[in-house]
Amino acid sequence: MTLRPLISAGLLLGVGMGGFIDGIIFHQVLQLHSMLSAVRPRDSLVGLEINMFWDGLFHAFTWITTAVGLWLLWRAARRPEVPWLGRALVGAMVAGWGLFNFVEGIVDHFLLQVHHVVESAGLSVWDWLFVGSGVLMMVVGWAMVATTRPRDTSDRWVEAHRTP
C-alpha cells in the first residue's frame, strides 16, 4: 500500500485550487496581488494591461497544474495498491495550497519583490500573513494526511465499490 500517488495528486490539485482562489478573489475581485504590481504599477491603463497579461500567464500555469493533478488522481484511482482515502486527498490539497502560498510568497514577495499582497503598503504584515497562512495550511494538511486511517468510515463505500 502506498499513499504517494494520492498525495502528489492532491498537492497539485491544491496548488491549482489555491491558485484559482488567488486569481479570482485577489487578482480580479479585490484587484490586489497582481503579478508585477511592484515593478509595473497599476496606476495607468498600460500598467493595468501589463499586469493583466502576466496574471493571465499565472492562471494558465495554474490550469496546467490542475490538469496534471487530475491526471495523477485518475492514475492513482486505477492502482489497487493506492488506498482511496478522502481525508488524505483533502489533506494533501490543503497542504498543496499552503505549499504554493509559502513558496510563491518567499520567491515573489520577499526575494524577487515583483509584487506584494497590498502594493500600496509595500512589503507589509499582509505578506507575512500570506506566507504564514501557507505554513499553517501545510501543517494542517500534513496532519490530516498523517492521521488518516485506511478504514475511515467515509471511505468504506468507495473502497467497497472500487474496480479492482
Binding site: R4, S8, G47, E49, I50, W54, L112
Partner: protein, 62 residues
C-alpha cells in the same frame, strides 16, 4: 482646464495585440528588457512546487 475631462472621455483601444499607440506600449511593456526576470518570477514557484511534488511522488532517487 477643460482639456483633462475631455481627454478622459476619449475611448482607448488597448490590448497586447492591438495596433494602436497604447497597444504598442502594452506590448513593449510585456516584452521589455526584463521579460526574462518576469517569466522567472511567474514560473519559479510552479517549478519549485513541481520538484517537491515529484520528489514525493517518485521517492528519493536511488
Amino acid at each position: 482646464m477643460p482639456v483633462v475631462p475631455w481627454l478622459a472621455l476619449v475611448p482607448v483601444l488597448a490590448c497586447p495585440v492591438c495596433d494602436t499607440g497604447t497597444g504598442r506600449e502594452v506590448r513593449a511593456g510585456i516584452l521589455g528588457g526584463d521579460v526574462a526576470l518576469t517569466l522567472l518570477a511567474v514560473t519559479l514557484p510552479f517549478t519549485l512546487v513541481a520538484c517537491i511534488v515529484a520528489f514525493i511522488h517518485f521517492g528519493r532517487p536511488k
